[in-house]
């Protein structure tokens, strides 16, 4: 599609171009771009930072770790989020589950009310303090997963709330139980409505995992810092890390926009 969206000043492609241009300009300016000497210096440092001893592999492995953590944390978040939201919605809908509902409410309040980094540190240094054999990546996945579960629960609650209550009534009027109606009538529609928001949650999480380095995980951010430590170079590694995040996030955002367009077009009323 080459048609421009009249609401936006720039098309998607323009945004990409501008973002690249800005990043590259920053890179160039801080290296004193305009002298031949600076050019050589830039090249030499680039070589030192990314090429020498295959240091780019540190970034590749870091990215792999970031994506690995983000993906599995999102999966955990999805499962936990659906369960928690269904508990809360069912409670509001008159199903008698006060204890479960209280637990769900505490969970959402606690995990949304504290910084994810504090949660990560607590999981690592308090809850699993004695489990030193455990791969810290799994601890991070758990921490990020449960954190995003609280947010996804709210997303789902909104999604379920957006379904006309007549849908539940129609299902119940046929003799279906609350649970069966929820599973076959309400949830499929709610999930469909919140798919774009779930992708956004994935994008948010991708960025949030950048604090994983605090418990010693060599994620993408930490990989940049590791290169810094090796080369005593402060700008290029982190700018490169930022560039990688930016490209991935912009790519995923464009997918979300496309998905939204598709879902709204084929929405069935």
């Amino acid at each position: 599609m080459t048609m421009r969206n009249s609401n936006n000043k720039f098309s998607r492609g323009d945004y990409f171009l501008w973002a690249f241009a800005v990043i590259i300009l920053v890179l160039l300016f801080q290296s004193g771009f305009f002298t031949a000497e600076a050019w050589q210096d830039f090249g030499r440092r680039f070589y030192q930072n990314f090429v020498y001893q295959e240091r780019y592999m540190m970034l590749v492995n870091g990215l792999r770790s970031t994506i690995f953590m983000t993906s599995f944390a999102t999966l955990i978040g999805l499962v936990v989020g659906v369960i928690v939201s269904v508990i809360r919605v069912a409670h509001e809908g008159g199903v008698h589950i006060p204890v479960l509902n209280a637990i769900a409410n505490c969970y959402v309040a606690a995990l949304r009310g504290t910084p994810v980094m504090v949660q990560l540190l607590i999981w690592n240094f308090t809850v699993f303090a004695s489990a030193r054999d455990l791969n810290t990546q799994y601890i991070a996945i758990l921490a990020f997963g449960l954190n995003s579960g609280a947010y996804i629960a709210e997303i789902f609650r909104g999604g379920i709330g957006s379904i006309d209550r007549g849908q539940m009534e129609a299902a119940r009027s046929l003799g279906l139980s609350y649970g069966t109606s929820m599973r076959f009538v309400i949830l499929p529609q709610a999930i469909r409505n919140v798919i774009p928001m779930l992708f956004n949650e994935f994008i948010v999480l991708l960025k949030e995992t950048s604090v994983a380095g605090y418990i010693g995980i060599d994620d993408l951010t930490r990989a940049g810092q590791n290169i810094q430590a090796l080369t005593m170079e402060h700008s290029q590694p982190l700018l490169m890390v930022a560039l990688i995040y930016l490209v991935i996030v912009m790519f995923l955002s464009s997918l979300v926009r496309r998905l939204e367009k598709y879902l709204s077009r084929s929405k069935r009323g």
Binding site: A170, S173, V185, P188, Q189, R268
Partner: protein
């Protein structure tokens, strides 16, 4: 009697919607419920299958008190179909899946039996060609006919119609009324809340005129429509029949 209602009261907070309704319906009987807006006629209908929890009173289905604690309302609802003003087809399911969902999930029919039933019912409501269509591809009248088929798939003993034509374009009303007439002629027991006075007069055995949460006047269509006795009924009918 299939359904007996004894002194049914319903209030929403301070607002008393139903102030003690006692009535019932016999097998094969067709009762039209009419009355001004806000009189409680829809609430009355929705209390019958406990879509609305009643405040007090007793409702019996085939002699069983369905308002008691021991009663599993899901089992009762299998036998009481309901058709809504706004259809409420399941938009993520095809016509066929809309109809077969409940009988299959409740293990009343196998998938194949339910499919045969769906085909038969769609034939009956004149939509045999819409078996695999999505609800959003249907007109309002077609949606409502599918909704009727969906309710019929459970082989209900009673059908509750809650203003089934009120949300339809005028030119769609006829096709839905035709289907309902066919059901009525086949001996279906029906409660019908409606503003279609002509249809009520033609199809119903008995008319309930509900006003301010009470059965204000009742009788055969000719009694109520042609010789209304009470002032509010006369006033109401003179307004709606003049059109």
């Amino acid at each position: 009697m299939i359904i007996e209602v004894e002194n049914l009261k319903k209030s929403f907070g301070e607002l008393n919607v139903l102030n003690g309704i006692t009535t019932g319906i016999n097998k094969g009987e067709r009762i039209a419920v009419i009355g001004p807006s806000g009189s409680g006629k829809s609430t009355f209908l929705r209390c019958i299958n406990r879509m609305e929890e009643l405040t007090s009173g007793i409702i019996k289905f085939n002699g069983e008190d369905i308002t008691s604690q021991d009663c599993d309302i899901n089992l009762i609802r299998r036998h009481i179909g309901m058709v809504f003003q706004h259809f409420y087809l399941f938009p993520h399911l095809t016509v066929q899946q809309n109809i077969t969902l409940a009988p299959v999930q409740l293990k009343i029919m196998s998938q194949n039996e339910a499919l045969d039933k769906a085909k038969y019912l769609l034939e009956r409501v004149g939509l045999a060609d819409k078996l695999n269509e999505w609800p959003d591809k249907l007109s309002g009248g077609q949606k409502q006919r599918v909704a009727i088929a969906r309710a019929m798939a459970m082989n209900p003993e009673v059908l509750l119609f809650d203003e089934p034509t009120s949300a339809l374009d005028p030119e769609m009303i006829g096709e839905v009324l035709d289907v309902m007439k066919e059901l009525a002629n086949s001996g279906m027991t029906m409660y019908l809340v409606t503003h279609e006075m002509g249809f009520a007069k033609e199809v119903a055995d008995r008319i309930l005129f509900i006003n301010q949460g009470e059965i204000y006047e009742e009788g055969t269509p000719s009694e109520v429509f042609d010789n209304p006795k009470k002032p509010r009924t006369i006033e109401f009918l003179s307004k709606v029949l003049r059109r």
